[in-house]
Subunit: 595 residues, 2 copies
Amino acid sequence: MNYVAPVKDMLFAMNELAELAEISALPGNEEASADLVETILDEAGKFASEVLAPINASGDKEGNTWTDGVVSTARGFKEAYASFCETGWNGMPAAVEFGGQGLPVTVSTAVLEMWKSANMSFSLCQMLTLGAVEAIAHHASNELKQIYLPNMVAGSWTGTMNLTEPQAGSDLAAVRSKAEPRGDGSYAVSGTKIFITWGEHDMAENIIHLVLARLPDAPPGVKGISLFIVPKFLVNADGSLGERNDLVCTSIEHKMGIHASATAVMAFGEKNGAIGYLVGEPNRGLEYMFTMMNHARLNVGLEGVAISERAYQHALAYARERVQGRIVGDKSGENKPILHHPDVRRMLMDMKSRTEAGRALAYYVAGCMDRARSHPDAGVRGANQARLELLTPVVKGWCTEMAQGVTWNGVQVHGGMGFIEETGACQHMRDARITTIYEGTTAIQANDLIGRKIAKEGGKNMGILREDIAATAMTLRTTGDPALIALADSLDRGIAALGDATQWLLDNHEAKPQAAAAGAVPFLKLTGVVVGGWLMARVAGIAATRAGDSDGDFYKAKLATAAFFAQHAMPEAGAYRDAIMNGADAVLALAESQF
Amino acid sequence: MNYVAPVKDMLFAMNELAELAEISALPGNEEASADLVETILDEAGKFASEVLAPINASGDKEGNTWTDGVVSTARGFKEAYASFCETGWNGMPAAVEFGGQGLPVTVSTAVLEMWKSANMSFSLCQMLTLGAVEAIAHHASNELKQIYLPNMVAGSWTGTMNLTEPQAGSDLAAVRSKAEPRGDGSYAVSGTKIFITWGEHDMAENIIHLVLARLPDAPPGVKGISLFIVPKFLVNADGSLGERNDLVCTSIEHKMGIHASATAVMAFGEKNGAIGYLVGEPNRGLEYMFTMMNHARLNVGLEGVAISERAYQHALAYARERVQGRIVGDKSGENKPILHHPDVRRMLMDMKSRTEAGRALAYYVAGCMDRARSHPDAGVRGANQARLELLTPVVKGWCTEMAQGVTWNGVQVHGGMGFIEETGACQHMRDARITTIYEGTTAIQANDLIGRKIAKEGGKNMGILREDIAATAMTLRTTGDPALIALADSLDRGIAALGDATQWLLDNHEAKPQAAAAGAVPFLKLTGVVVGGWLMARVAGIAATRAGDSDGDFYKAKLATAAFFAQHAMPEAGAYRDAIMNGADAVLALAESQF
């Protein structure tokens, strides 16, 4: 089943929700004309369909091979990666000064969605590389930038994030890897890192590891962690590759999904210490990592959207083709594809509407990032930065949780064939499974949301968001259109649930922190579904004005999708509110021995 | 991670919800004394832990090997199966007259749950064999029974169900396999069958295939399908094995889960026709299959409970052991296991309470089956038969859908380790994935529920069920205990949602059959959560009277689990009702071209 980039849907979300025209008018974005953006999306869509999608299933089946520290990628990956770099796609989202195209985040978001849909395993290599580029660009010395960035942006060198250790997963305070000064300005880095995505492979000349480690005099906990560049091959003064550094991939994991991306166990400094270079100041490593973690979280949220889109296309194609059973209530007497069975339709509409809501959210937040970076008005920058920070954990948490149900339904639509690996539907479900775990589990996102993003500032930005949603509901009501008024009703119920739950959190966060934390994940889902419903309702408001266009069918479908979301997804808001506000005691009731 | 049978929980559900004492007093069940039942459960628990659980992960990893029609099972399976048969576990649930122990269904349900938890792949072989035994015992001639049943009950021969063909999945009307009379009372059967669980293997001397096929003069559709016994090896007059029959396993599937159970493609009659024997009368095959399908559906629902239990035990063990991060609101300053993180607790409570609710439902319905079979009072038999029929699709549909979230949370509790195959948590999720598909997808169950079980009889039995639930709420209220009154409130909200949705279905089933079908799956889930909540509330009512016992901790935990279910699961009822009653139009709105 090939993948076709949903360019029209993407452009719609970019134009209407991220408001691309405004973004393109911001300083530095002048080149991002509507024509150029459409051309980029068309070209990227072709590359995704023709180069990346065809090696997705084979990559899943073959996986990577580890032999004595050398990792060989699945067939076709080396060639695809070479082509990806050659055509400039690898560095495209990076800043112009480092060889990228400096396009708005909104535009690169759509392009990245395509890579993730076409081949999630493949896309992770670029994602990690660009994350490392971002950390280096923001925090490293000019010398380090000049040595590493151009090749990383070009893709001839790839990047990794080495955070996790066996005893330090969600809790990075427990990091034990060490870095000792070597007297020449470099450091001898040692320690074991696990879960290193694309930590070792054969697609690039060099791999630049960003490693969290402790200096000898570092304070304990998160305030004693520094960030180091530790290249696989040392770089000579003339920029050529020198000796192999003292680091090795000791094994790769057998995972449930993303088989074609090697997840490495990395041993640093087992001989004399791996030579590393301090990024920025000592003991600020975690802070630097978070610069890129926040962006990486948005990108993982986008993975949720992308894998959902792929699963939807896959299931839809099967549902259009497979003829099975009489359609209830159908008097034609004809055999029809299963797409006509009401429950298959329900599943497809569920997949479609949630995927569109996730895309709406991810692109909307990308727009906030563009405005927060480049808008000339400080007030607008501040408001967009606040919205971006509030919604980053929601994009990560809700879009990835959403993808679980969507990819699950993708299997279900296929019936028995769905369970057969060759069909390909379960790969999407297996690939999606990691997204609620890495870059911070849903619980980590939810605690960020209720703590730093809400309680810490007394719920101010959540209040502004609720007002914006209420304003949309009001606007929809004024149209007098019953379909839009129904959406407004649904939004008002959603805001009420969100308001109640937010107030409960504010009342309890300090006094009963465990009770608040017990409701954190339901609260994140509540926020996600209401904000998703809001953006879908805005889409509907726009679509209603265009239903008579030559392209009316496209807009009518948007109205139906928004109605489905309001009727089938939004009612969850009340259930989440009830669980948050009434359910904390039961979460905490049992003694350890009673489980 | 080993499996320990939750004997105490099982006995509680058997005694209090299925009301085992009453069942043991029914004619024919006299031997099922409380002591004997406890001994059986203890012994079965040992066998499950010591023999079946240890080969679960290795079986998943190795799978089966197909070579020229011969299927070799994973290491240890042959030996485990021999021991399973030798100790009498294989035939235990069968009737005494065929060599079984003739125990109440309630008792065998608990034992079967253990096999399914310990090793779902392994357990399928017995499940299919006993299903075939049931069909033969009810519908075949005495001669066929005498030839086949004793060896099948003993397990030296296993059984299969050959229904599905490439073009005939959910729609058995499309079956094309043929059976031509051979003139000697036997038939020449030919055709291709797919998805045949344990269709070929090396654990037994013979495999007895039950095959749906059409006689030459058969009417089209479901009324022209007959049922045949087609043995792998023909049986000589003296009972010894004769020639190999003309049937062959042409391949086995690569599946997402249940790797250790071969799913075979079977080719019948590629040479001269496979010799088969008609079961019962011509053209009644589907009806006969349904005798065992209904029981098989309960058993697949039980798989949902069993795999949930296993996933819960697995996640709990990890959560007790793994130390990570500071616990929010904890002033002890100690490092504690992740079990103490509120969100990990929330996930474990969710897993625990839903698993217990699923078990409550499955065992309760097993009790209905026992009473429907053996109660001396025809009125009681009838009432229990009606309840059994109403809830069979709910056990199958809801318990298996429930298992998806539970096994998913089992992975999530493990964090990054959950995604690593060696951890074992994803095997449960992958194994669980088939349960909402085989033996009739959730949509098939849901259509059975809203059609045959509700609309066809004007909602009568659903009304009686709602009255029973209301009576429980009333009883809980009279205690004056605030915790029980809160459960009563939750039940009343649940009944109201179920009542509204049932009435809507009754109003629309005839006039708008597609709209009704669009709400079928949400309606099944609504019924499941409300009935689950009812049984959990009954548990709480009993537990409240025993919280002061020496065993008080066990009962206090039951109260907490019931409260959790009421607060976190029951609010879904309102969301399902809304989706059913308001959401049909949006399901059906799009033209095929608009997807």
